[in-house]
């Protein structure tokens, strides 16, 4: 009796060992599962991704792609523990910046350089280099770029015409302040603002800081040189923002308004300007009271103005940059799949059906809507891509930037004190 059990055990152990070595030897033909974690809620995007995953599975027998969804906030809260567990996904959505860097530093991620440079660097050379730079730290690329974005001004053409403002003449910050004054004098609320969410106003400080400091000044501040974020350009950026705040350009109650409220204010035609994303012409409609919003031919776009005498140029762009990060123990096919996702054909389909700003060279041809096309062309010519500061500087400093932007514009904080607060917070991150 006991010997039978013993024999059975022996047999099962041997079987297990055999099965293990078999799977090890034939990793390509045995089932290998790519677990893909995302935060996408848009049904069109998810269904297109599912389709792309199916195509990849068909071309690569033995590879299975499982999509896992987590809601944005839950995703951010769960990631620290998830990455350190054996349930870590193979690839997951990233906004780049400080969080991606922190994840890379724990050793939980795998850099994708080898795959980028394989086949004579075919993958790397097919992607917009600014996008790759934006997801690189310490000389390695930590995520595969998938989409880019641009924050710029959208305006209501009818209202501009009524007030007699010519958007093409807004080149400098002084021009912009002049336009705000003219609109106000014409009885029009110049700008829609979302002060409750704070980040819609951090766009202003970020752009002003980029224009005042320029790419090098910004990099120096991040490195802690020349007094870091207390350097003159950053104080000046705050002063420019305070000048705007003094004109009281926003709708009444903007400090209690969310981003969706700001979209509604713009979409209902209750304010003339909105500093928004590339997707803003679409979302203003769905958030407006009538659900129709402004018609697209009533919306114009202009770049964030430059500042006289400051090094920042109009082609320095500020906006999102997203990618897919690969975890340490992900199956080797993960990079292969990402390369497929980043290929120009797939990127074209993504750009067409989900209205993203593609990162693959030449993919923006597929964009049909004129406003989006204009954004894509601007991004193609960009000289510097600055990611959102709450990503780039990390969530803590980002939150401080958000806070001080609202405080400066509403007159609650001196620009120099604001610069000090940002530097205080960032000096802890540099350690």
């Amino acid at each position: 009796m006991s010997s039978t059990i013993f024999q059975f055990r022996m047999f099962s152990t041997a079987a297990a060992i055999a099965a293990f070595s078999f799977s090890g030897a034939n990793s390509a033909s045995a089932e290998s599962v790519i677990r893909w974690m995302h935060v996408e809620q848009l049904p069109a995007a998810v269904s297109l991704w599912t389709e792309i995953a199916k195509e990849f599975e068909a071309k690569h027998p033995g590879v299975k792609i499982e999509m896992q969804f987590l809601e944005n906030q839950a995703f951010k809260a769960k990631m620290p523990t998830l990455l350190q567990s054996k349930d870590a996904p193979s690839m997951f959505y990233t906004w780049g910046g400080g969080v991606l860097k922190a994840q890379a530093e724990t050793g939980a991620l795998r850099a994708i350089d080898t795959a980028l440079d394989a086949d004579g660097g075919a993958w790397r050379s097919a992607i917009n280099p600014n996008a790759i730079d934006g997801l690189s730290f310490d000389g390695k690329v930590w995520a595969s770029p998938t989409k880019s974005g641009l924050v710029s001004f959208y305006y209501n053409k009818e209202m501009f015409q009524k007030a007699g403002v010519d958007a093409t003449k807004i080149v400098t910050w002084t021009d912009f302040l002049g336009a705000v004054k003219t609109l106000k004098d014409a009885g029009i609320t110049p700008i829609a603002g979302g002060g409750l969410d704070k980040w819609p106003l951090h766009f202003y400080w970020s752009y002003l800081a980029m224009r005042e400091a320029g790419q090098k000044g910004f990099a120096d501040a991040k490195a802690g040189e020349n007094e870091g974020f207390m350097a003159e350009p950053f104080v000046k950026a705050g002063q420019h923002l305070a000048e705007l705040g003094k004109l009281e350009p926003f709708q009444n109650g903007y400090l209690g308004a969310t981003w969706n409220d700001a979209l509604a204010t713009f979409g209902d035609g209750r304010a003339a300007i909105l500093l928004g994303f590339e997707s803003t012409p679409g979302t203003q409609a769905s958030n407006s009271t009538s659900r129709k919003g402004l018609s697209e031919d009533n919306i114009g776009r202009f770049q964030f103005p430059t500042i006289e005498g400051a090094p920042g140029v109009v082609t320095d762009s500020f906006g999102g940059l997203n990618g897919w990060a690969v975890t340490k123990n992900a199956p080797p096919e993960t990079e292969e799949f990402l390369r497929y996702m980043a290929g120009v054909d797939v990127q074209k389909r993504l750009a067409k059906d989900t209205q993203i700003m593609p990162v693959a060279k030449g993919a923006s041809e597929a964009i049909e809507k004129p406003l989006l096309k204009d954004v894509a062309e601007t991004l193609a010519k960009e000289t510097w891509h600055q990611n959102f500061l709450d990503q780039d500087l990390g969530p803590n400093v980002g939150a401080v930037v958000n806070d001080v932007s609202v405080e400066i514009v509403s007159g609650g904080l001196e620009p120099a004190d604001a610069a000090q607060q940002i530097e205080d917070a960032y000096s802890l991150e540099r350690q």
């Binding site: 951010k76 809260a77 620290p80 523990t81 990455l83 350190q84 969080v99 922190a102 994840q103 530093e105 724990t106 050793g107 939980a108 002060g195 409750l196 704070k198 009444n252 109650g253 903007y254 400090l255 209690g256 308004a257 209750r270 009271t289 990390g394 969530p395 803590n396 939150a399 806070d403 609202v406 405080e407 509403s410 609650g412 802890l428 350690q431």
Partner: protein
């Protein structure tokens, strides 16, 4: 003794019993205490340890690190997180706001609840209906209440805006103004919880012996005298309990504030818990957030125990 035994056997029996009982009980306690303890304590102790003591200890440990949740906490910063908390203007504002909520509860909410309870605890026509109506806000989830009131306070499309437009006035934006936002929130807190306190008082009022009030009637007491001299003292324990709930509720207030203001504008409506969330969780400052958690825990424990010791000693 022997005489009584013979003459009154029944009494002997009765007298003997109390002498024997304490001994027997003492003995049985001594013997039965341990099995019961061993059987019933571990599950509760285990749960309490795993769910309360361990997380608290862990938070206390994290609170001495600068840590964003990734990897292991390695950067020891000593008491720095605690120093940062007490230097943070938003935290002192949060403390003040928590205090304001308690004060508003004691000065407005509880008197209001008591007044309504005395009116509808008696079996007058429609009392049940009003009890239901007044209790309804309490049944709502805090988040739902916050979202409803965000709409009510809205200056463009909300009730407040509508009323202002009706009178041709410039609509106010209370939630967007640093000076008024906290008062607007206090209004919602009172609206949401007075029904709960009212129910407590109704239960307390129903427990009061009617004959005491009848006696006061016969003595010629007026309505107010009856309330002040009879009802209120007899309701004492309920009032103390009500205040206790108000204090604890204030310390926990979070999910109503998030949809209303998120702690803004300019941190003017932070409570300790929204502070913890905004400055610890969303900023991924796990060390700092843990320190806030520890401070909050200490405040809660101190308040709860001292309140129970001082005010609820006899309840």
């Amino acid at each position: 003794m022997s005489m009584s035994e013979t003459t009154m056997p029944g009494r002997t029996y009765a007298a003997a019993k109390p002498r024997a009982t304490p001994q027997r009980r003492k003995r049985s306690l001594k013997h039965s205490k341990w099995p019961v303890l061993i059987l019933f304590l571990p599950p509760a102790l285990l749960l309490f340890t795993v769910l309360v003591i361990l997380p608290m200890g862990e938070a206390a440990w994290y609170s001495f690190y600068n840590w964003n949740g990734y990897g292991l906490p390695e950067q020891w910063v000593g008491w720095r997180n605690y120093q940062l908390i007490f230097r943070n203007g938003a935290f002192s504002q949060a403390l003040i706001n928590n205090g304001m909520i308690v004060v508003a509860s004691i000065l407005i909410q509880i008197p209001l609840a008591l007044w309504l309870a005395t009116m509808i605890s008696s079996r007058i026509h429609g009392a049940l209906f009003f009890r239901l109506i007044f209790f309804l806000p309490y049944v709502l989830a805090d988040v739902a209440a916050g979202m409803i009131w965000r709409f009510v306070y809205d200056g463009d499309f909300g009730l407040v805006g509508g009323i202002a437009h009706l009178f041709g006035a410039e609509p106010p934006y209370w939630l967007a103004d640093r000076d008024t936002a906290m008062y607007a929130i206090l209004g919602v807190v009172i609206w949401k919880y007075f029904g709960f306190h009212m129910m407590l008082f109704i239960a307390g009022l129903q427990a009061i012996d009617k004959s005491v009030l009848e006696a006061a009637d016969i003595d010629g007491a007026t309505g107010f005298q009856k309330f002040r001299l009879v009802t209120l003292p007899l309701l004492g324990s309920t009032v103390r309990l009500s205040v206790f709930f108000a204090v604890v509720g204030s310390l926990q207030l979070f999910d109503m504030i998030m949809p209303l203001t998120g702690g803004g504008p300019s941190n003017s409506t932070q409570t300790m818990v929204t502070f913890l969330y905004n400055f610890g969780v969303t900023r991924m400052q796990v060390g700092f957030g843990s320190a806030v958690g520890v401070v909050l825990f200490v405040i809660c424990v101190t308040l709860a125990f001292s309140y129970k010791r001082i005010f609820m000693r006899h309840d």
